[in-house]
Subunit: 326 residues, 2 copies
C-alpha cells in the first residue's frame, strides 16, 4: 500500500504532538490524515472558553503558531491582557490579542448552541487548515491534578505553578458521563494507521482515552497502532512527562510509556539513540521502530513523518484484518 | 454658595456629554460631581456586552480616551477584531484590543452575578476615575429605531448604517419593566444642580429619562435643573441630533430641544452665538444662559464648565426648596 493512500489518524496533545501532525500533514494528502486533539486542559479564563491543545494544533497546522514558543499566535500582542490586569484580573495565563479572538468566538458559538467539534472545525477551516481536527468529545472532561496544595486544574498546574508541585493523583473529571464524538470514533474506525503522538501520556493522551468508547474503538480498530515516544534517552523532549509519571508511581522511561499503552499499541517508535532502552522493551511484545524522532526544525518534522510512514508501510496490510493485541 | 461646594449631577450620553463632564471634573472636587450615563446603546457583540456611552465616559474621565475620535482607548490596536473577521464574524463595530478587555471583564462579571452599576464603578475606579459614574438602571433598556428597513438597534443605526436611514419611531425597549438604580436616584435627589448634558435628547438623554422613577425623581428634586444645548446655530455639534429630531416630527432647533425637556428644566444654556434663537425660547418660561458651549480643545472643556458653574451659582440657593416648574 503506497504510504500516501494510507488513512492515518493521530491522537495528539499540544506542542510535541502538533509537530508530528504538521510533519505528517506535509507528506500526506489532506484526505489521508485526521487528528483527534486533547481537551483535558480546556478551561475558562475571564469568562471565555480556552482550549489550549486544540489551539496549538490549529495554529500550528495553519502555520500561524508562534514558532519560538510552540503555542500562541505568531506576532501576537498583549494589549487585552494588560487591561484585564489593570482591572484586577489574574493574568498568569498568557493570552494574546489574536488568541483572544479565538476564545471569544468559541465562547459565543458555544453559547449559541453550536457543537464544540463543529466550532473547532469551523475555526481551523477559516484559518486555512485542511486536515480535519476533531475533539474526542463535545462534553467537558477537565483534567485535575492532586498536589500537596489540593486539586489543581491542568493550566493552574502547568502554567501558573510551572509544573512545580508533586502530583499524586490525576483525574479526568466527568469522563464517565462524557460521550465520544462520532467524528473521533469514525476517524479511529477507518484508520489504517493510528498514531499516538509524542505527547505526555498521562496529561495529553489519557484524557482522550478516558472518554468512554474511545479506548474500545482503538482496541477494535483494524488499524496498525503505534505510539511515538515522548521521551528520548528517558528524558521528556519538553514538559513534565517524566516527573509526573514518576510521582504517579509509573516508570518514567520508554518501558514505562510502553506499559502505559499496554494492550493499545502494536508498535512503538523510539529514537535511534535509545539503543540501551530497546532491550527493556522486549517483554512488551510490540514492534519496535528506531528512527530519529527529535523535531527541532520545521524540516525535521517532515523527515520524521516521512521516515515514520516508511517504517509503518510494511506493517500495514490493507484488505486483511489487522492482528489484534492480546 | 461657593461653586465648588455645590453638588452637581449630570445626565450624559457619549462624546458631547463626556466633554462637559470632563470639564466639570477639572473644576469641581470629585465629591461634588456625579454622572448618570446612557445605557440605551448597550449591545452584545461577539457574545460580549458592550456599553458604548459608559465606556466613552469612563475612558474620557480616565484620560485614556482616543482624543481624535472621542471614543475608544487611546493607542488601541485591532488585532482581535481582525481575527474575528477571519473567523467570519461581522466586524462593523470597531472594538480595539484594550477595549475588548473591558467588554470581556464586563461580560464575565455580569455572568458572575455582579450588578452592572457595580461593574461600571469598579472599572472606572481601576482606571483611576474618581467621579462616580452610575448606570440609570441595572436592567437592559435597548433603544430601537424604526426605519424603512425595519427596527434597528442603536449601534446598527449609528455605526453600521452611519445614521443614514430615516427614523420614524424610537422605542426604549423594556423600559416599562426596568428599575432605576438607587445610586442614580440618590444622585438626582441630593443634587444642588442637575445638568442635562449636550447630548442627543432622543438617543442619549431620553433612554435615561424613560426608566421609571428617573423623570419623577428629577421633577421632585430640589436641584436647579438645566440643559446644555446640544445644538449651536441649530446644527448638532456632532451626530444626527437635528436629523433624527426632524424625522420624528420634533423641531430640530434650540426651541425644539427646550420643548422636549419641557417640565424638566429650570434653565437652558445656549451658545453665545445663538442670539437669534434666544427670542424663540421666551415662551418656554425658563432661564436662558448664554456662554460659549463649544468644546473643541481640552482647555475649552474646563472653561465651559467654569463659566457654566458661575452662571448657575446665582440660581442655586441652598437651604431653600428650589422653585418647581409647573
Amino acid at each position: 500500500m503506497p504510504e500516501n493512500s494510507m488513512k492515518v489518524t493521530v491522537l495528539s496533545g499540544g506542542i510535541g504532538g502538533a509537530k508530528l501532525v504538521e510533519g505528517l500533514a506535509s507528506v500526506l494528502p489532506a484526505t489521508s490524515l485526521k487528528v483527534i486533539g486533547n481537551i483535558g486542559d480546556d478551561d475558562e479564563f475571564h469568562g471565555l472558553w480556552v482550549s489550549p491543545d486544540i489551539d496549538i494544533l490549529t495554529y500550528t497546522l495553519a502555520n500561524r503558531v508562534n514558532r519560538e514558543t510552540g503555542w500562541g499566535f505568531e506576532g501576537d500582542t498583549l494589549e487585552t491582557l494588560k487591561i484585564l490586569k489593570e482591572l484586577g484580573e489574574d493574568t498568569w495565563m498568557t493570552l494574546g490579542d489574536k488568541d483572544f479572538a479565538v476564545h471569544i468566538f468559541r465562547t459565543a458559538a458555544r453559547k449559541a448552541g453550536k457543537r464544540p467539534t463543529e466550532i473547532a472545525l469551523h475555526m481551523a477551516r477559516k484559518f486555512g487548515v485542511n486536515v480535519p481536527l476533531y475533539l474526542p468529545s463535545d462534553d467537558l472532561v477537565p483534567t485535575r491534578l492532586l498536589t500537596s496544595g489540593g486539586w489543581l486544574r491542568m493550566e493552574e498546574y502547568f502554567v501558573r505553578e510551572r509544573c512545580a508541585p508533586e502530583v499524586t493523583e490525576v483525574r479526568y473529571e466527568n469522563c464517565e458521563k462524557a460521550r465520544p464524538t462520532p467524528e473521533a470514533l469514525a476517524a479511529i474506525g477507518e484508520a489504517d494507521i493510528l498514531i499516538i503522538g509524542p505527547s505526555n501520556p498521562v496529561l495529553s493522551i489519557a484524557p482522550i482515552l478516558a472518554i468512554p468508547g474511545i479506548r474500545e474503538a482503538i482496541i477494535k480498530s483494524r488499524a496498525y497502532k503505534v505510539a511515538v515516544a515522548p521521551l528520548i534517552n528517558n528524558a521528556a523532549i519538553k514538559g513534565p512527562t517524566c516527573k509526573i509519571m514518576a510521582s504517579l508511581g509509573l516508570s518514567p522511561t520508554l518501558k514505562g510509556v510502553a506499559e502505559y499503552y499496554h494492550g493499545l499499541i502494536d508498535g512503538f517508535v523510539i529514537d535511534a539513540s535509545d539503543t540501551k532502552e530497546q532491550a527493556s522493551l522486549s517483554s512488551e511484545n510490540i514492534d519496535i521502530y528506531t528512527q530519529n524522532i527529535l523535531m527541532s526544525t520545521l524540516a525535521d518534522r517532515s523527515k520524521v513523518a516521512e521516515q515514520l510512514l516508511q517504517n509503518l508501510a510494511n506493517a500495514v496490510n490493507p484488505g486483511q484484518t489487522r492482528r489484534q493485541k492480546a
